[in-house]
Symmetry: C2
Subunit: 407 residues, 2 copies
């Protein structure tokens, strides 16, 4: 009987461990049904797998409390990596990978991650096929960016969106207290897709919302921005805008480019920072009123103390489903959410060809952005709203959240 292995890869989210817990639950069922032997976890994804660093996860099959704590713990409990696998399926690196997998009689690989991890999933599938290995590979999506193709949304997005919308509503409270003209610029993560920044607009569902929201899907005009801010300042003293870190001018230059570090990651992505800071300096220079920028920063992807219940439940479910799909014979697939039609929000879980998903970017459709390019349409809020619904009661000890840790 073959064993299974699960790995986590890419940037942390607040829900990636819920998906890991879901895979563990699915594997527990498969083991009970006599379909798999053991479940292993890669330490630090493919990077650790190559070095044979793995741990057995069977001990969590019967530990309901441990899995619950895991599912509320932010970031990747198994560790992560940012490793690009070779494009050539015959590369010797794959020989080393399969050697490790075969040494542990592994027949099922589950890889939880975002775009780059789906690239790894597709390549591992191709390498297995090239060598006629009987190993099934399933990608399980996670990314706060919500930018994976082929799925209605991604696990991890809902919790990030809930944090962003909540903090935006709180910053709006904070900014409302003074009578002096002031501009507050909230900078939200999102390199190419504006989904996270759009979440700032959700605050409208239960109170005030930012005056303007700027997504990277629409070319950003510095003049247009100053016009917008001046228009808002004529209406009320406390202007709040949300802006994506990835906004670019019509010529394709990042607005924050002046503040760029020039550093690139293993995938050639430019590290961004500074759109908010750049616009802060612009307002100070051109308008001259009080102005500050607030970069929401890391808590957007790791604020495990504020989870979307919908997100955590779906993240668990998609992990369980991944195992069921692998047991049913699927491979080279990424698990996806398909939103059901109808008034009530509901999703079903399906799968899609991972090689067609990897390296694509699903951006915010133009129909979700208003004509002026500085706000959202009602259709956008209708899409976003169900994803942040529900709260999760997490465990605290001495006033601090409890987190799962492997010993």
């Amino acid at each position: 009987m073959k064993n299974a292995i699960v790995g986590q890869s890419g940037g942390p989210t607040a829900a990636i461990n819920a998906t890991l817990a879901g895979v563990i639950e699915g594997a527990a069922v498969a083991q009970k049904q006599g379909k798999i032997g053991h479940l292993f976890g890669m330490q630090n994804g493919m990077e650790g797998l190559l070095e044979g660093r793995m741990r057995e996860l069977d001990f969590l099959f019967s530990d309901t409390e441990g899995r619950e704590l895991l599912s509320h713990t932010p970031a990747s409990a198994l560790g992560s990596c940012r490793m690009k696998l070779p494009s050539d399926p015959n590369d010797t690196l794959y020989d080393r990978l399969f050697k490790v997998l075969e040494a542990h009689a592994i027949g099922y690989v589950f890889y939880i991650g975002g775009n780059d991890s789906m690239d790894s999933t597709a390549k591992l599938t191709a390498a297995a096929a090239a060598r006629q290995k009987d190993i099934r590979v399933i990608g399980v999506p996670k990314t706060i960016d919500n930018d994976l193709c082929g799925t209605d949304h991604t696990p991890g997005y809902g919790s990030a969106a809930k944090y962003i919308a909540t903090v935006t509503s709180e910053v709006l409270c904070d900014c409302a207290v003074y009578t002096k003209k002031a501009v507050t610029i909230i900078e939200v993560m999102g390199r190419d897709a504006g989904w996270l920044t759009a979440a700032a607009g959700l605050s409208a569902l239960n109170g005030p919302a930012p005056d303007y929201i700027y997504l990277p899907e629409v070319p950003f005009s510095l003049d247009g921005f100053l016009r917008d801010v001046n228009t808002a300042l004529e209406k009320h003293p406390n202007v709040v805008v949300a802006v994506s870190e990835g906004v670019r001018t019509g010529e394709g230059r990042y607005v924050g480019e002046a503040a760029q570090s020039g550093v690139k990651d293993a995938f050639g992505h430019t590290y961004l920072s500074g759109a908010g800071k750049t616009l802060e300096l612009l307002v100070r220079e051109k308008i001259g009123c009080k102005v500050r920028s607030v970069e929401l920063n890391l808590p957007q992807r790791c604020a495990g103390h504020l989870l979307s219940r919908v997100d955590i439940q779906e993240s668990l479910a998609i992990g369980r489903a991944a195992v069921a799909y692998a047991m049913a014979g699927e491979s080279g697939r990424m698990m996806v959410f398909v939103r059901e039609r109808g008034e009530e929000y509901a999703v079903k879980i399906a799968s899609a060809d991972v090689s067609e998903i990897a390296n694509g970017v699903r951006t915010v459709p133009r129909s979700y952005i208003n004509e002026q390019g500085n706000g959202l349409t009602p259709a956008c809020l209708t899409y976003l709203a169900p994803l942040v619904c529900g709260e999760v009661n997490i465990e605290y000890r001495q006033g601090l959240p409890c987190h799962f840790r492997f010993r």
Copy 2:
């Protein structure tokens, strides 16, 4: 029968509205006892009072749900101001203030705020005395900075500390996932006092803690910082430090001074930013590993979604007590917390002469900081721990927190 008025002033906190709710509860009792007529609220503190902008708050006397929602709503529901009252008690500005107060038959003034607001409280008391006005003035402390003299701690600090400690523990989860050497610098608010930065160390009570914590109370050495970071990098790849925005070198220069805006507020405070960013650039240049800085920013003072139950309950209690003290004849006093001796945490509420408190700064005692000046002592954690205890269930609608708003 005289009326009462309450105002909020200075920077927002997540608990300042709980104190307002407490004053309202206290006033409801006083009204029932026939001691006061109505309770008014200043809109935008003294600034609004001067312009006669106020609202009646009696409608909240019987609205338990409204007061509860108010007590969980961040920032100042009545609006705030940053207004420095004249030092000369005979200044004509006071004539205008007393004219407004007398027009509304106000005999009791409650002013909720931090250091600068206690300065206003002391000056208003002196101006009332100079004119032999029968108006009692009570200051009620609030500040996330925890830097007011004469009190064990300040309302608002506990919730800010809980947010900082929680996010620190989550950032530690986030940083632990990769195997590559990386330094993360968490920049925490606190101009002169390190109480907020110290709160990052609370994460040790329920998991890992930052490698080093740097408070403004100890002169900061750039060389010492680099030595610390290198020492930690030898032990593990993911180094996390917490640093106060206000750290200064031995010569008294702010570490973030290079990034200063040069702007000063009405009280002559320099706007700070950039200690974290400065240290990030230093590590990149001198050590060369991956490095990032995370400025916790505004959510430190307005994250109403993560409140300390101890803080909110105490904030309510000190507001109620303020009214009781005024009814008992006190004036020119600030309400304070006195921590009881003994194993179990308990505070009693008392009052102190506000003129002796205003404009002082209570910093972190040297005995709370380790000998090397880069961490906390157990005594510090013992002091801090009870203040973040307990959670508050706040109300959500459509996945977003509900906030109180005056119509």
